[in-house]
């Protein structure tokens, strides 16, 4: 009966789509996955055989909403019917997206993407390994850029498929092979742009782990700038494009040669400058020593000179001192008061004689002049007139000398001065006549 049912069910439900929530997920050693698919009202047992399970890119998780496609069958041993799932998709997000997130989370938890795991890229690689398709656009871009920047570079290509079933494994093996080769300094792994599906190999765990395990620094260059793969997270350096990866791994040879030339030039210049500087110092030192010798000689000469000058000065001072003493002596002897006294004594008698004579003369002159004046006085004196019989009339008591008769009145008393004695008279008559 079960057999009949099974045949009937398998015929009727050979291709069904079911939507529901995963629960009771079990994955025993066989690799098959057993679970229950349920919705609010019903449930059904489900099985994913190993071959289908391996194709899953994401992990089935409890409570995950999925859409499953498969066929119904009956498990005769238990008499249960179940769905044998061929493909299962997470509901809502894409399967790839989910797988990406799940793997990223798991590897991150393991520390595969840790920053401290990352190795620095060599500054001057001699050999660059390239893991990519030998026919794609990526290899052309990479080779062109590498050759342009560093024309003498040794490039070792590990050709791989970059999409498809076996791409992940090939990429991982190529990485290993380049590591084993021994003389590779840095590896570029990548491919040109494509869909999320096309780039999927670079999200595969085997690739991510191979990149993380590489002893040689790895630069990832997958697709375009916007494409981010797990390979990028694991790589030591993520380049946005294959061309950018090539630029990242080698400097421009011409610039390095120029830099080398400049450094060499500067080394020479510095050495030259240093030598010139030391030479200057040496010259200055020699000059210093010479100077000291000259200064010593000079000083000796000047000392001699000064001694000479001192000696002559001293001589001069002595001579002039002596002379001055002589002079002073001469002067002194000239000024001897005895001489003056002697001289004075000699002149005194002469003077007194002259004085005497002079005095006599002066006295005689005076006597003569006095006599003359006296004679003159005599002639002028009114008394002399009186002597000749004239008198002088004067009013009394006014003493006014009378000149005219009219000046007096009758009866007035007058005084008449004679040459000898005085007469007092009274006016008796006045005769006023005009002079004839």
């Amino acid at each position: 009966m079960t057999g009949l049912l099974r045949t009937s069910i398998e015929e009727q439900f050979s291709d069904v789509w079911l939507e529901g929530e995963l629960s009771n997920i079990r994955t025993p050693g066989s690799g098959h996955v057993y679970c229950t698919l349920k919705d609010k009202t019903s449930q059904i047992r489900a099985v994913l055989f190993r071959s289908s399970a391996l194709k899953l890119r994401f992990a089935l998780q409890e409570g995950m909403q999925v859409i499953a496609r498969g066929r119904l069958t009956v498990y005769e041993l238990r008499g249960e019917y179940q769905i044998v799932i061929d493909t299962v998709e997470p509901k809502g997000v894409g399967a790839l997206q989910l797988a990406f997130e799940q793997l990223k989370e798991r590897l991150a938890a393991e520390g595969v993407f840790d920053q401290q795991r990352k190795k620095p890229l060599p500054a001057f690689p001699k050999t660059v390994g390239v893991v990519t398709s030998p026919t794609g656009a990526a290899i052309r871009d990479i080779l062109a850029v590498l050759k342009r920047r560093w024309p003498t570079l040794h490039i070792l290509i590990a050709p791989v498929q970059v999409q498809g079933e076996s791409a992940g494994r090939q990429i991982a093996e190529a990485l290993e092979a380049l590591n084993d080769w021994g003389s590779v300094d840095v590896i570029i792994v990548g491919r040109g742009g494509g869909s999320l599906e096309d780039l999927w190999s670079f999200n595969e765990e085997v690739v991510v782990r191979a990149i993380a395990a590489s002893h040689v620094p790895v630069v990832s260059a997958v697709g375009h700038e916007v494409d981010v793969t797990l390979a990028d997270f694991a790589a030591d350096f993520r380049a946005p494009t294959p061309s950018a990866a090539a630029e990242a791994v080698v400097p421009v040879l011409a610039e390095i040669v120029e830099r080398l030339r400049e450094l060499t030039l500067r080394t020479g210049q510095m050495m030259f400058r240093h030598c010139a500087f030391e030479r200057q110092r040496l010259d200055a030192g020699i000059r210093g020593v010479t100077d000291v010798r000259f200064r010593l000689q000079d000083a000796a000469q000047r000392t001699d000179d000064m001694v000479d000058r001192l000696r002559s000065l001293l001589q001069h001072a002595l001579t002039s001192g002596r002379e001055r003493v002589h002079e002073a002596q001469r002067d002194l002897s000239g000024l001897n008061p005895i001489l003056a006294i002697k001289q004075g004594l000699a002149t005194v008698p002469q003077f007194s004689k002259r004085l005497e004579g002079q005095m006599k003369t002066i006295l005689a002159q005076y006597c003569h002049r006095v006599h003359a004046i006296l004679a003159q006085l005599n002639t002028l004196s009114p008394l002399a007139v009186l002597g000749r019989g004239y008198s002088i009339l004067q009013t009394v008591p006014a003493g006014q000398v009378l000149h005219r008769a009219s000046d007096v009145e009758v009866g007035q008393e007058l005084e008449a001065q004679l040459a000898s004695g005085i007469l007092y008279c009274r006016v008796t008559q006045i005769v006023d006549d005009s002079p004839v």
């Binding site: 500054a123 398709s133 030998p134 026919t135 003498t152 040794h154 510095m270 050495m271 240093h274 500087f277």
Partner: protein
């Protein structure tokens, strides 16, 4: 490895120029590093000049042996079959 030598040589050369530019070294010491610098720069140039552009392909044959051969851009035939 030549690359390490070159990198170290360049770094040392830069350091030497820096030392010389500080110019507080005694003359004999600066002469010594000057000679070293000149030797390094010659070596660096030699490394650069001696290198030769090679593009090769690394392949593994069926029994896992690795070998390399020259790469030519029409190398589709070398793509390993999956």
């Amino acid at each position: 490895m030549a690359t390490v030598k070159f990198e170290q040589a360049m770094a040392r050369l830069e350091a030497i120029v820096g030392e010389l530019e500080k110019s507080d070294l005694p003359l004999d010491e600066s002469l010594r590093i000057f000679e070293e610098g000149i030797r390094l720069s010659k070596n660096c140039l030699k490394i650069l000049e001696e290198a030769e552009h090679k593009v090769e392909v690394l392949v593994q044959d069926k029994n896992g042996k690795k070998r390399i051969h020259a790469f030519s851009s029409g190398d589709e035939s070398d793509e390993p079959s999956s």
